[in-house]
Symmetry: C2
Subunit: 332 residues, 2 copies
C-alpha cells in the first residue's frame, strides 16, 4: 500500500495544514490545540456542536464543520482518539452560553476522553451533554447494543443535529432528537481489502485472495463472518437482512439510505449496491425518502462499503432535508 505522504508521523498535521489552507473561508484551527472550528464560532443563540475522533476517515470528521452541521472537531491521530484536553478546548470554543452537545462514536478511547472533557467543561460552568452513536449492527448482537460501534450513523446525526441547532433548539431538545436519530439508524459494512496506517508496517487486517469480511469495522475491527467474495447482489442482500431485522424496519416505514464507500471502492460499485438496496426496500414496502451514495466516512484506502438506514418521521425528514454547507458536505 503505497502512499503519497512525507513523514508518516506528520500526516495529520500536514493534512490539516492543507485542509485549513483550502477551506480558510469556512474553518480555522484553534491556536492552542488541534481543534478545527467553524469560522465565527461561537454562534449567539445556538447550541454548540462538538465531535471528534481519529483521522483517516475523511470527509469525517473535519469535512462536516459548517453551516447546518457541526461547529468544532477535536482531531486525533490516525485511528486514535483526540485527547480530553482537545475536546475540552473544542467545547469551550463553541459555547455561546446556550450549551454544547458532544457527539461521538462508541469507541473506548473516545468515550474515556469525551467523559473527562465533559467533566472538565462542566466544572468550568459549561452546560454539556453527550450522545454516543452505536449504529453498527455488525459489531455486536442486539442484546449487547451498548457494545456496538458508531459508523455512518454519526454523519446522519451531525446532519440532523446541525439543522436542529440552527433552528435555535435547546440543549435538551437537541439531545432528544440526537437520541432518536441514533436509535433509528442501523449500519452494516463489508470489506474485501484492508488499509494501512501510515506509521504501521502491516495492513489493518489480511484477507485471502478471494475473501471478504462481513461486519468489518471502520478501523479494520473483525466482523461477524469471513467468506468467499460473492456477487454484489448477494452481499447486499446479506447486509440488508441484518439491518432490516435489527430495528426492525417494517412495511410502511420511511428511511434515509446511505451507501458509503470505505475508501477504494469505486462509485460505480456503490451504485450497483444501491440498485439492489432499492429493490429490497421496494419489495419490503419501505419508502426511500432520500439517498446518499458516495464516500461519507472512510477508512483510508480500505476496499469495501457500508449500508446505513435511518428510519425517519416528519421532523427527521425536515432536518435531513435542510440545506447545509461545509468543506466536504454541501446540500442545497
Amino acid at each position: 500500500m503505497k502512499k503519497f505522504i512525507n513523514d508518516p508521523n506528520k500526516v495529520v498535521d500536514e493534512m490539516l495544514e492543507g485542509f485549513l489552507a483550502a477551506h480558510s473561508d469556512m474553518v480555522e484551527k484553534l491556536l492552542t490545540s488541534r481543534v478545527v472550528v467553524r469560522k465565527g464560532a461561537p454562534f449567539k443563540g445556538k447550541v454548540g456542536l462538538v465531535t471528534g475522533g481519529g483521522s483517516g476517515h475523511k470527509p469525517a470528521f473535519i469535512g462536516y464543520i459548517g453551516d447546518g452541521l457541526v461547529d468544532a472537531v477535536a482531531v486525533g491521530d490516525i485511528f486514535s482518539s483526540p485527547s480530553a484536553q482537545q475536546i475540552y478546548e473544542a467545547i469551550k470554543a463553541v459555547d455561546s452560553g446556550k450549551g454544547v452537545l458532544c457527539m461521538l462514536g462508541n469507541y473506548s478511547g473516545d468515550i474515556m476522553n469525551f467523559d473527562m472533557a465533559v467533566e472538565m467543561a462542566r466544572e468550568d460552568g459549561h452546560r454539556v451533554e453527550q450522545v454516543i452513536v452505536n449504529d453498527d449492527v455488525g459489531s455486536a448482537p442486539k442484546d449487547k447494543m451498548e457494545n456496538r460501534r458508531g459508523v455512518v450513523g454519526e454523519v446522519i446525526l451531525w446532519k440532523v443535529a446541525g439543522a436542529k441547532a440552527k433552528e435555535g433548539a435547546s440543549l435538551e431538545e437537541l439531545k432528544k432528537i440526537a437520541e432518536k436519530t441514533i436509535f433509528n439508524s442501523r449500519s452494516m459494512g463489508v470489506a474485501h481489502s484492508p488499509c494501512r496506517v501510515p506509521t504501521a508496517e502491516e495492513p489493518t487486517f489480511t484477507l485471502g485472495e478471494n475473501e471478504m469480511e462481513i461486519g468489518v469495522g471502520h478501523h479494520g475491527e473483525p466482523g461477524v463472518k469471513r467468506m468467499p467474495l460473492k456477487p454484489a447482489d448477494e452481499v447486499t442482500s446479506m447486509l440488508m437482512e441484518k439491518i432490516l431485522e435489527d430495528l426492525p424496519f417494517k412495511s410502511g416505514d420511511e428511511v434515509v439510505v446511505n451507501i458509503n464507500g470505505l475508501g477504494a471502492t469505486p462509485l460505480l460499485e456503490l451504485y450497483i449496491v444501491y440498485r439492489k438496496v432499492h429493490q429490497i426496500l421496494k419489495d419490503s414496502k419501505i419508502k426511500v425518502h432520500r439517498t446518499y451514495v458516495g464516500e461519507y466516512f472512510t477508512s483510508l484506502e480500505m476496499g469495501g462499503f457500508s449500508i446505513t438506514l435511518t428510519k425517519v418521521d416528519d421532523e427527521l425528514k425536515r432536518l435531513i432535508d435542510a440545506p447545509a454547507k461545509a468543506p466536504l458536505f454541501v446540500q442545497a
Copy 2:
C-alpha cells in the same frame, strides 16, 4: 482487484439503474438510448449542454447533470466512448431551439463519435458546436497540444459552461468561454497503482512494488516517466513545475485549483498534496481563487491523483463561483 459487482458485462447498466433510482428527482434516462438527461430538459431559452464518455470515471460524467451544469450525458461502456447514435440522441433531447454545445475529452473514439453525431444533428437542422478538452500536460509536449488528453479540465469546463448557459448565453458566447476555459486549464497526474476494467483479466498497467508513474492517463495510458515513489512534496513539486511552465502561469495570476483523487487515494493524502501546492503558488505569487479537493474524475480504483490549475479572470471567477446542483456535485 476484487470488485463488488454481479455480471462484469452488466456493470454499466446495473450502475445506471442504481444511479437513476437514487437520483430520480434530478435525472432520467431516455427511453430509447443509454443517455441520461436532466429532468425537464430541454430548457427554453437555454443552450443545451452535452457531454459523454466512457464509464468508470464517476462522479464524471453523469454525476454532473444538473442545474448550472450539463444537461445530458451519453454513457459509454467502461473506458470506451458512447456511440454516435447515443450522442445524437443526447443532442436532440436537450435542444430547445437555442442550439447545443458538445464538450468532450480528446480521445480518438469520443472524437470520431461526437463528429458523426454532430453531423447527423446538423443535418436535422440543429445548431451544434463542439469543444475538445486537452488539459493533460503529461500526455504530449506543448508543441503537440492537439495530442493532449482531456482530464479534470472537463469538470472545470462543465462548471463554467453550465453557469454561462444558465445566464442565457448564446451558443457562440458559450463556445468562446469554453475555449478560454480549456486554454487556461492545465493538469498533470501521477499513479502508483492501477485499476482493472471489470471484463479484463489484467490491470490497466503494472508498476513495481515501490514505483510510480508521472503523467499517467485516466485510462492507464503511459505517462512521461516511471520512477521510484517519492515523498508527496517532491511528487507535487514535479507535477507543479510542469503545469506552471506550460501555460505559463505567472506571478499575479489568479487560479482555481483542483486536487483530484483517481479512486483509491485517501483524501488525507490529497490534502497533504494541496498543502505543497498552496506553498508553491504562494511562493510564485499566484493567487488561489478557489480550491477543490476530492474525487472529481476517477479511474475506477486507481491509486493516484492529478493537479489542475485554471487561470481565471473576473468572468471565469463569477461562473465558477455560481451555485450548482447535480447528483454528485453541489455548490452553494
